[in-house]
């Protein structure tokens, strides 16, 4: 399966998800970090990897641990392959850019560290528009559970972390006084390193975007999982919940370089 991304794809994903990390748009910033071009958002490329996963799992609940191994650039051909065992890979010229290791599904309990919200009409409309864009670009629709994961990721970007957490984070990164995660990302390199998804049978049975109505999005408290001389690593957990049962969850790991 061959894939390619345009600058327009990057804009559309940013408009849908809220991921306006300047590294994806500022050539000077990208170059200062040794990149040959502005990288696309990892979650944009992951949308295609997830479609391959969908083909592989064939309706069976699963968990996937995804690693974003290196940056992906626009206007370049990449290939997505399944190794026949447990890994789907997006690669080019023998280099692995995204790896997704499939594992057994693990039932979860709902988490509400940062509360929960109901999926509203605006979210569904936004998701539907993005789904249509993707279906036109790829000539086939994205898997519905994959769109659910995108919806959860969007929630991470559109939910402000507690101010105390952000102030503590910005101090640890070395840029005191910033108020939001987006502010921190604008002054220091922030890279999503991993993404873990847990997808139940219920999620796999979602057959239309409209069916995402009536769910709640549960937000775990963001956590600072690691700090050393060079970096801070934080994790965000969000879940899609129905009738107090977790339909699917996403955990995103982000590395932020310390100043």
């Amino acid at each position: 399966m061959m894939v390619r991304y345009s600058a327009h794809d990057v804009e559309k994903w940013a408009a849908f998800s809220g991921d306006y990390n300047p590294i994806h748009f500022d050539k000077g910033m990208a170059s200062s970090y040794g990149m040959t071009a502005c990288p696309i958002q990892g979650m944009l490329a992951l949308a295609d990897v997830k479609n391959k996963i969908s083909d592989v799992v064939q309706g069976k609940p699963f968990s996937a641990h995804i690693s974003f191994r290196d940056y992906i650039v626009p206007d370049t051909d990449y290939e997505i392959s399944w190794d026949g065992k447990r890994t789907v890979t997006l690669h080019r010229d023998g280099q692995k850019l995204i790896t997704a290791r499939l594992k057994d599904y693990v039932p979860e309990q709902p988490e509400t560290g940062l509360g929960k919200v109901s999926t509203d009409a605006q979210m569904i409309t936004c998701l539907d528009e993005f789904a249509h864009y993707r279906a036109e670009e790829r000539k086939h629709p994205d898997a519905l559970w994959s769109l659910g994961d995108s919806l959860l990721f969007r929630d991470i970007f559109n939910t402000e972390s507690p101010r105390e957490f952000t102030r503590d984070l910005s101090a640890k990164v070395g840029v005191s006084g910033l108020e939001t995660i987006n502010d921190v990302m604008s002054v220091s390199l922030a890279v999503q390193t991993n993404h873990t998804i847990n997808v139940s049978e219920q999620a796999l049975n979602i057959s239309s975007v409209k069916q995402f109505s009536g769910f709640s999005i549960n937000r775990g408290h963001p956590s600072l999982v690691l700090i050393d001389e060079e970096k801070v690593v934080i994790e965000f957990l969000v879940q899609l919940v129905s009738d107090n049962a977790v339909t699917m969850s996403s955990k995103s790991t982000v590395l932020i370089k310390r100043k």
């Binding site: 690693s67 974003f68 191994r69 290791r101 390193t193 999982v225 690691l226 050393d228 590395l255």
Partner: protein, 77 residues
């Protein structure tokens, strides 16, 4: 060395590097596992979460073995 640390760390590294358990023994050199920076971050994060131990890249030399790493995490080195 704690058997649990060795077993868990081996399981983790096998998962990260797509290896079989037989590929990793106590005397396996860490450099032969070909960790890149992302592999190291992933290992660091999991070790921190499970053992509350912060691995530092300065610990590793050309001669560091897998057993050395386990001992280090267990506080014996």
């Amino acid at each position: 060395m704690s058997t649990n640390t060795f077993d868990r760390l081996r399981e983790l590294v096998c998962e990260i590097k797509d290896l079989d358990e037989d590929d990793i023994q106590r005397d396996t050199l860490i450099k032969d596992l070909n960790f890149d920076s992302l592999d190291f971050v992933e290992l660091q994060v999991t070790v921190k979460k499970e053992c509350n131990f912060t691995m530092n890249q300065t610990f590793f030399t050309e001669k560091t073995t897998f057993g050395d790493l386990c001992d280090h995490i267990d506080g014996k080195e």
